[in-house]
Symmetry: C2
Subunit: 404 residues, 2 copies
């Protein structure tokens, strides 16, 4: 089998951890597998480099930022290859370029365009373990790019796809994907399997196990991904295509996100093009809007528009929105930062009704007011007051039978 193993920052945090990674790689190779390892920077390194850049310049150039940040993964790829070699294997460290990871030229959040991988295929056939520096690629013009936060997950999945790997293992510091955060609900259970769609909702909802784009990529190219811990031998969670069995479970997990602020524009004249004008203005500032809800206001001639943005962008968004609201002759703008988003996710919802109403009932029964609602085929999300977050997670986990 060809197996891609990706190790995150905490898994390569120091010499001892890198040795442990090498032991696991060695074991996998000795079982007769061709192994490609993808590594992140040692935990803390990327933030340290960003800190240096910000001290140097308030607005560091993105091309130079990529050159800077890519160095962290190069260090771990070299060290990990040395560690694997010291266990008696042949090993080669590859940069993103040497792996043939070609990206577009959108620095600091480049997209992978193709992976040539010729040299890797040859080296694997010659019996080498390959250790690739994650998070990075190269443009057609020969400049180094990085793939954005969590980009090493994407490197691993894309490499697995390019090399037709049988499995892509993502090693992290948790045992897999849980029905909810075990810190809030001790009875939370590890899922044996989860569909790409569900994982995608969970990833974007703040359960930071896998980077969103890597899940999209895995889904698109049907790469089987296992999320597991590098600190033990537990089997982890398989992220794969939806199957019959998964549909039997109505709700697979309860997720929460405390990093959402809610902005409401009140009394907007109800004419076409208003929402477009508002959200174009926000999008132009590269602020990511998550939920959007629009209601007719009480007097019937005007409308209230509410939406959520990451809390880090809330002040900037408020200022921007106030400007646009003035142009639109709206009555006012209101920001709430004491908010959180709670979501229940499950592919079973497609064939089962009543999930939304059960969710609303459960929250109501515990006196939790709902400020916004948004739904998709496999998800129901509510914005609530953030002080109720833990309570909401606990009662929903219980209500949907995940605690038993």
């Amino acid at each position: 089998m060809v197996i891609v193993q990706k190790y995150g920052g905490t898994s390569v945090a120091n010499v001892e951890r890198i040795r442990a990674v090498a032991e696991r790689v060695s074991k996998t190779a000795k079982q007769g597998n061709k192994v490609v390892v993808v590594v992140s920077a040692m935990s803390g390194e990327t933030d340290k480099l960003i800190g240096l850049a910000n001290q140097i310049s308030p607005n560091p150039g993105e091309r130079e930022m990529d050159l800077l940040l890519s160095s962290g993964e190069r260090v771990t790829s070299a060290l990990t290859a040395m560690a694997v070699e010291s266990l008696g294997h042949k090993a080669l460290a590859f940069t993103g370029r040497q792996m043939g990871i070609i990206t577009d030229a959108v620095h600091t959040k480049a997209r992978i365009e193709k992976i040539t991988g010729e040299r890797a295929r040859k080296a694997l056939d010659e019996g080498y373990v390959i250790v690739v520096a994650g998070f990075q690629g190269i443009t057609e013009k020969d400049d180094v790019t990085t793939l954005g936060r969590g980009g090493s997950d994407l490197s691993a999945v894309a490499i697995a796809s390019a090399l037709d790997a049988d499995l892509c293992e993502i090693y992290t510091d948790v045992d897999g994907v849980y029905t909810t955060d075990p810190n809030i609900v001790p009875e939370a259970k590890k899922l044996e399997k989860i569909s790409y769609e569900e994982m995608l909702e969970l990833a974007s909802l703040g359960a930071k196990v896998l980077q969103t784009r890597s899940v999209e990529f895995a889904m698109k190219y049907n790469v089987p991904v296992v999320v597991r811990s590098s600190f033990n031998d537990n089997p982890g969670t398989l992220v794969t295509k939806e199957d019959k069995e998964m549909e039997k479970v109505v709700v697979s997990g309860v997720a929460y996100d405390k990093n959402q602020a809610k902005i409401t524009v009140m009394g907007v004249p109800d004419t076409p093009g208003i929402a477009a004008r508002l959200f174009r203005g926000i999008a132009d500032s590269s602020i990511i809007v998550d939920m959007i809800v629009q209601n007719i206001s009480s007097d019937g001639n005007a409308t209230d528009i509410s939406f959520t943005v990451p809390k880090t962008d809330s002040k900037k968004t408020l200022k921007l929105t106030e400007g646009i609201a003035g142009e639109l002759k709206a009555k006012g703008v209101n920001l709430r930062e004491d908010t959180a988003k709670i979501s229940v996710v499950g592919v079973g919802m497609r064939t089962h009704s009543g999930v939304a109403s059960q969710m609303f009932d459960t929250l109501a029964k515990h006196g939790i007011n709902i400020m916004m609602i948004s739904t998709s085929e496999i998800k129901v999300s509510c914005v609530i007051e953030s002080k109720y977050t833990e309570l909401a997670v606990r009662v929903l986990h219980e209500a949907f039978g995940l605690s038993s």
Copy 2:
């Protein structure tokens, strides 16, 4: 003018130092020059990375070592480019590869084969300041190489040559090249000018201002090099072709090297091929032998051979030599580590006699015994007991009129 400026580890040691470098670069660019900056890793970084590698493996692979070590210079090139940009210039950070530095495949001490430099020439014409990561290149097969300790000096000189630069400035933490170590002789004077040949002798004699290979390269391609401090605006020392004026000075400097151990093989049968056998054995272990002296022994049928090696290699060399001495039926091997090498250097020696005898006289007058002597056209070196090092430097500096 095209000017190459190289900044060493202490000159880019932290954010403040990098900002100071950027100010100097900016000033040079504003005077209408095209500027190429070559940077080392922040001081301490390379040693930190070597330390990590040695913790991982007693024998880290050299290809991976190069990938590892090259990351330090990439970090500073990116940060320095950001700093230059923040002062209102256009700047581009280049890796060794992007600069087109092609080397052979002798990892950790690669030799530069050529520098294509096309992209750099184009960028300079477009008004960019270029900041190159020193110390590194790339093989024809696309693997990263490093140029050995002090390799950034070589990068700078080679780039200056490839771009037909008018000047190559090497910025360091001292003001230039001195007649001797000012820590020992406070009256030591900074030289305004020195010939490549003299600099070469001084560099290899332990006056660690410029890396030896970079001086060889500058001499071969006639690159004018200025050594100066990044901590002030003093003019520095110009390293250039020998001229008439230089020949007037008999001795330009007094150098010392405390890192030499002396090994003597006693009573070697005086037959052809003996020295070859001995030194081939040592060279095969990549140990660099500096001075070699052979004398007939007292009984006339055997010979004593003495040589010096770096102290770090002395134990290994002793063991090796004892083995070979046994084969050669020598009487014994003796190691002395309490030794130092003192040298006087000057192109004027070519046309002035009596330098050697004046040196021996001066040492004798102060009761310093000479253990070995070696001479070249422009240098006389003596091995003495190391406890006399400072005394010898002082009295020779005085005797050759360098203190006045």
